[in-house]
Symmetry: D2
């Protein structure tokens, strides 16, 4: 369980960090969609390792092969399967931790759960798993494009460096202009410097990604348990290293009075709008047509290039020494993952919404 | 869709605020569990309206009837259905908003989604819906008790009043000692005062609930999309008025370095422990045996006793005037709801975990 | 598990034969559907016990209460919950089998599975459970009516009495003209006589119901595992006492050559048709617009008014003596159940089909 | 939808007849299972095309690659992905039917549903899809072996040639002794002759496979909708060309009286048994520990080497001429598919049963 996401636009992923391949089946993509393979590759490239000095130096081309579900460039309604082969595994980098549990990794918990584990690079618990999400998310984005919906996220905080601007104050088309994926050039420079310094310190640092979904029509979302923001929240919390999620006014909003927080409705040119958007585009779990925006908190990467205290599978005290190739900060490469998960949720709820009324 | 929660320990709820009844089917509860009806009622009483001066004055006994699945006091493995009839509907309180959209309510979004809606008291979007969650959560708690697992949450912030203590510094058995459900008596008094003042101002205020789940064995949770904390997060985000969720180090954790954030493992008396618990009891989406703790942010209740600008179903500008009976702050009554949702997730993942190994 | 049916038009049922009530939640019914309560009652009346001399003499009015999801006579898109209270339980009729396993009943298997069981009237395994299916099926039929789709089944065999006519040779509007629900008056008379004689012999007899679904547009059904006929088959096989299912040419079709069996396509007045319909309206698991027809085999009811050899919960040899009120033949009352399950499948697949294309 | 089977032991398949590859993700296989790759290949070999004169002459080695979920020969609890590449596509064999609908194929219905289709070899509707089922079924069989459960099916009828023996009268270890997979050598010879003659006539013929599942403990199965036999039935009906399913006494059983049909319980050496097994090992949808047996009816293959009347995508009358490589009778190669589907159901229900009791 746990390798499937979505209801009608649904994905199933597989693959380990150091296994032969990773991949995804996208089931439920409507027939008739043009599958732009260049776009899929571009999305994968945004996530791929080795893309800059502030990411892991593992080299993976992350080229993909579509195995099914597309005929003459068009989706056929049958499952679209996408395969990405691993190329630059250095599995022997991990032999020293075969019987050790790295602190704050999933080594111990996988062992506790399954009794066996593929220890190489964290196996299934590695963030390498997200390559499949991004491939699937690219298909979802192609579908959303047909409906005029976009998902754009960006880095809004690294360590203590907080961007301090709302998404409306930024030009989101500039996110890809720099390697940290912050649309504010000055803040970006500082963030890059902080990450690079952290890397040199053989340490890691956390950060925040702000997501913005625009063009969502009113009426998407399910009452009660599958509220739109709850599903987006789960989608984000399922990304490796995520520790928190808030949307709209978020944690700050708790200090407000209702009279300050409520978003007054008005109509303009036949379109329903709200004067403020503390709701973050979702009311009662259903989209209201305004922008959906949210923050996702990422902890510092657990793998550091320093010796740490831990135990082994026998429960004996051991020292885990830092090896392998890892990101000093996860957020630059997590931006396309956040986009992908956002797109997958919206694509799914878009399909569900087609069945709401007689 | 959206009225079902859980995989193996699974609930289906129904009911509107001003309909004849609300209820829940609990499907997948293992056979052989003693069903303590007094406990179920006690849990419902913690959530019920009219319990104190800082809650809504709607009067509901919230007495329940078990319709199936229990024979001679023992669960039989078949669906347990629990019915709670509404008694104190004052539906005509709502006739004035039959064609108006209250700001930051779900009136507009339900209308946009379904084209029709039961406007009385918000219909299905009312927090009255959570009575079914608490009834089901009580069954889940009875199951967890058999495994030594508890879920205890408490109010840690109201408006700007922040408790400023960790859960370890508090005596969680004292949460029920006061009407705001904060285990620190002094902070509780201040919070009650703030809520009462807000109520007198005909306004509302937000707050934060901290949840603590203890006794969870290592190994619960599913890799990738259904990570334990992601499912807890979704569960919490699905509660009315919730705007944010964080666990372990949460949003604060992003400012730390990995070397500070990592939780070193050690073994004591044959039990695996961690020196710190920034992970919040979950690593790689799977429980590690340490306490699971998290924060849930609730916005101020949307219904205020003041006139507000809005539109009607025709898109015309209207004034919505505050009427009806509502909570000035949702968090005191949300404590048992947070507990219920936490218990439902753990009960579900506990059953799933029975199938992990050969 | 096992108490939910359907994907988008989805039902959850609960209730035991001798518990306080049975019921169903219908989740996913589109908003805007007029809910004709007279029709629901009429469907329940077709299934209810005590309706004629050839059915059980248990007396249940099977009156229902809608608890949610309908406002001013219209479905709102939220879960529709329907409650049917038990009235004529004679639970002490069952005290003599509290620790005995009736042959070919579910007593032993429930005991083996759950360790405990509600032995009164078979508890959850009783065909009384199907009252919830018929209530839900009535809603599904109301939905299908909007699309011009009907589900009509009839009794085509009782014991060795085989109707020997195809559904095209019959006037299906006459099914309700007699108590055995066979649209051929002469055959009906013989069947009634056979059932009545069997009843007098304190025995039971099996039979076959033929189902016909008309007006289904081409394109409903899912490739591979959820083929339309596979889902209909599962729906039928899930009905108490069913032992077999075939559609189109069925078991007879295996003796044909492909050249005889294939259904040639032609177009008439812009409508695609087939010259024969061995396919039974489904090709490759997807409807082709022709009539869907199928047979469902029901075994003789297990409860007979004769003494039988068996064992008790201790494994000791015992005699089970026939008591209680039971049907001598299940098929007359199973006709509305077959219709209900057929309607539920088609309603579900109809909703799914709305998401197939861009 | 429709490409997933199972609840806890769950598979997701993909792939078209003439696409680059087919495959399956097996999610939920317990950790710790030895994965015998020779066994998987042997199962695939039983299904593969070109294995004898009475099967299609398409040549596929059907070699597989495990891409994930297995480490050092042991299942890790993460998704097991298996890939089978197509090798002997002769796609241009199909260009003549690109815009024509072959009678009794899924060409028309896929077109009606999706608007587009991969016409080469039937695309996703081809029985080539079942290679993924057999690969997954092999894993399920390995799991069942650990519990002493076996699934063995055999051909019991081809056209009018009926075996006329029950499975108890046969030596099921001899099924693989001949190319038609009938354990009775004499009957097998006749069947082979009939199929070969049919092939020479450029025609096809139907048949029946009898399945036998042994060693299933009492208590597997879910009440109401997911009855064990209903799920087995759906599994079988989902196989290409299947038109009917019956278990235990099946369609014949309807002619019996309850007093003849009931299976008396007795205990022998502490084991509960039944004197007869009309129930087919399942009572009330739950296994009773006796053998589970059933029949599956397969229609004659739709592709015949003769000219047939049909229409094209424009609705014009056309002649479809027989080309391509196809089986004259599907049952010999369907035996491993029936086994695979049976094993998948039992494996799934076995895992579910672990959560039935406290």
């Amino acid at each position: 369980m746990g390798n499937t996401f979505g209801n009608l636009f649904r994905i199933h992923t597989f693959g380990e960090s150091h296994g032969p391949a990773l991949g995804v089946i996208i089931d439920g993509c409507p027939a008739g969609l043009s599958i732009d393979t260049d776009f899929i590759q571009a999305e994968l490239d945004r996530r791929k390792p080795g893309q800059s000095k502030i990411t892991t130096q593992r080299k993976e081309a992350d080229e993909f092969e579509i195995l099914s579900g597309v005929f003459e460039g068009i989706s056929t309604g049958t499952p679209i399967s996408i395969l990405i082969r691993n190329q630059d595994q250095k599995s022997k980098d991990y032999s020293h931790i075969a019987d050790k549990f790295r602190p704050s990794h999933a080594d111990y918990t996988f062992h506790a759960k399954f009794g066996v584990r593929d220890y190489r690079g964290g196996g299934r618990s590695s963030a390498r798993e997200t390559v499949a999400r991004v491939a699937a998310g690219a298909i979802a984005k192609l579908l959303l494009k047909e409906y005029g919906i976009t998902a754009n996220s960006f880095v809004s905080q690294v360590g203590n460096l907080k961007l301090g601007k709302t998404y409306q104050e930024l030009d989101l088309t500039r996110t890809e202009d720099n390697i940290v994926r912050c649309p504010d050039p000055e803040a970006a420079e500082q963030m890059i410097e902080l990450i690079d310094q952290t890397r040199k310190n053989r340490d890691t640092i956390g950060g925040i990604i702000t997501g913005v979904i625009q063009g969502v029509p009113a009426g998407l979302g399910e009452p009660v348990f599958d509220k739109l923001h709850a599903e987006i929240g789960k989608a984000m919390l399922s990304i490796n290293a995520v520790k928190g999620f808030e949307f709209g006014s978020g944690f700050e909003g708790v200090t407000l009075n209702g009279s300050e927080h409520n978003d007054a409705f008005y109509e303009e040119d036949g379109v329903v709008k709200t004067r403020t958007n503390h709701s973050g585009g979702v009311q009662g779990g259903i989209s209201n047509g305004q922008d959906i925006y949210f923050n996702v908190a990422f902890k510092p990467v657990a793998t550091i290039m320093k010796d740490q205290e831990s135990i082994n599978t026998e429960g004996e005290s051991v020292t885990v020494s830092g090896k392998g190739r890892h990101d000093p900060c996860v957020v630059p490469r997590a931006v396309p993952i956040v986009d992908a998960m956002a797109a997958l949720v919206i694509a799914d709820y878009l399909l569900i919404s087609k069945t709401n009324r007689l």
